[in-house]
Amino acid sequence: MAEQINTLPYKANLEVYSETLQRLAETDRNIIAVTSDSRGSGKLVPFGKKYPDQIIEVGIAEQNLVGVAAGLASCGKKVFATSPACFLTARALEQIKNDVAYSNNPVNVIGISAGVSYGALGSTHHSLHDFAALRAINNITVVAPADNWETAQAIELAANIDEPVYLRFGKKPMPLLKENNNEKFEFGKGRVIAEGNDVLIIGCGETVYPALEAVQILKEKGIAATVVSMHTIKPLDTALLARLASTCKAIVTVEEHSIYGGLGEACASYLLQHGICKPFKIVGIPDEYTVTGSQGEIFDHYGINKEGISKVVEALLK
């Protein structure tokens, strides 16, 4: 399966974000991008050229970025507040909580170059806390699309729903997880990418693809795996989780986030509180400032790759 997927054309989810926004802006002058000197980083230069009146620059000022976005959204604008996820969800967290979520201003908070996308620029530029921080805030949907299709769908959906959304993605080209057959994308509904009875692997964002690659390795060892792209971390698709968890022998979650407070703990919490107890392991970034390296090197270092995931699965099933 993985081999077939590799042949499909793909690009960075960040590029897809920009393209989708341009497409939406063609017919909707209420689409507004707000940037904090992040027009280039957000691949929004073409958007700004095409729609100069629909891009607002606030300078390197993330708190203001989110507050301004909230004001615009309160006047009916479909706002995409775009800034590196690391700054947006830490420095401007209070603005996300109060001005967006609590005040119910339907801003789309777009965390670009999320997780460890910035690689060797270091921990100031990594966002490994954002799921945890935002999961604990009421009234904001938390989404990490895995591939180009999910990204385009998520952006379009976010533009057209009247509620706060946080979307985060990276800048590495992401292969399509599967060919799409008129599937419907919804927030809060996970996608089953591969099916197998032995182990359930749940990923989100850029970790779903390595999970999918692990399927082949596991298959060779006689282990059949189900892979889910749980693109929405909150609200979690608990119905899908419960159904798949009940029939498998072990569960592994994979995320580009701290092992604390993210997708894995969200799943574990639900399962434990509903009496579904299976061998369970969270793969993610441990509680440390990461090793220096590119995103790929950091992933490899912490076993967020097909080999690492396969090993965790094998150990759980022993």
């Binding site: 904090s36 000197d37 606030v58 300078g59 390197i60 203001n64």
Partner: protein
């Protein structure tokens, strides 16, 4: 608080001055008469997305720091003699009840013609060919260090 006489230096980008946190600290330093602090601003007029006045016009930085209670100096941040003289002036101005700010007029990418005065080179490294071309323009750096 500890009564020592050391000076503290900080270096800021002009784009960085968009951040409100900076102004919180600027107000705080003036309020507490932190006069052992010399803050330098690398006023190159460029940030990652373009010229700072296009991205978010910062206006007159000199006036801003003065309005926020600082002693403000200016110098050419790419002229070594001026830098040394400027830092001497700043040291002399320290200890007088006000934090000291130096506005350093600089050119981003200084010394390499194709890098100067543009934001294009904010976060990228030259390739081998560009490096060779750049080093040709910077003879004094070869062999000296």
């Amino acid at each position: 608080m500890n009564g020592d006489s050391k000076l503290v230096y900080s270096l800021h980008g002009d784009g960085e001055l968009n951040e409100g946190q900076i102004w919180e600290a600027v107000m705080f330093a003036a309020h507490h008469k932190v006069d052992n602090l010399i803050s330098t601003v690398d006023w190159n007029g460029q940030q990652i997305d373009g010229p700072t006045d296009k991205v978010l016009n910062m206006g007159n930085l000199h006036e801003k720091f003065e309005a926020f209670g600082w002693h403000v100096l200016e110098m050419n941040g790419n002229d070594m003699d001026d830098v040394i003289a400027g830092l001497d002036k700043a040291k002399a101005a320290s200890g007088k009840g006000k934090p000291v700010a130096i506005m350093m007029h600089t050119a981003m990418g200084k010394g390499v013609d194709f890098m100067e005065g543009t934001h294009e080179w904010h976060g990228i490294a030259p390739n081998d060919e560009q490096l060779a071309k750049a080093l040709e323009q910077l003879p004094e750096t070869l062999g000296d260090y």
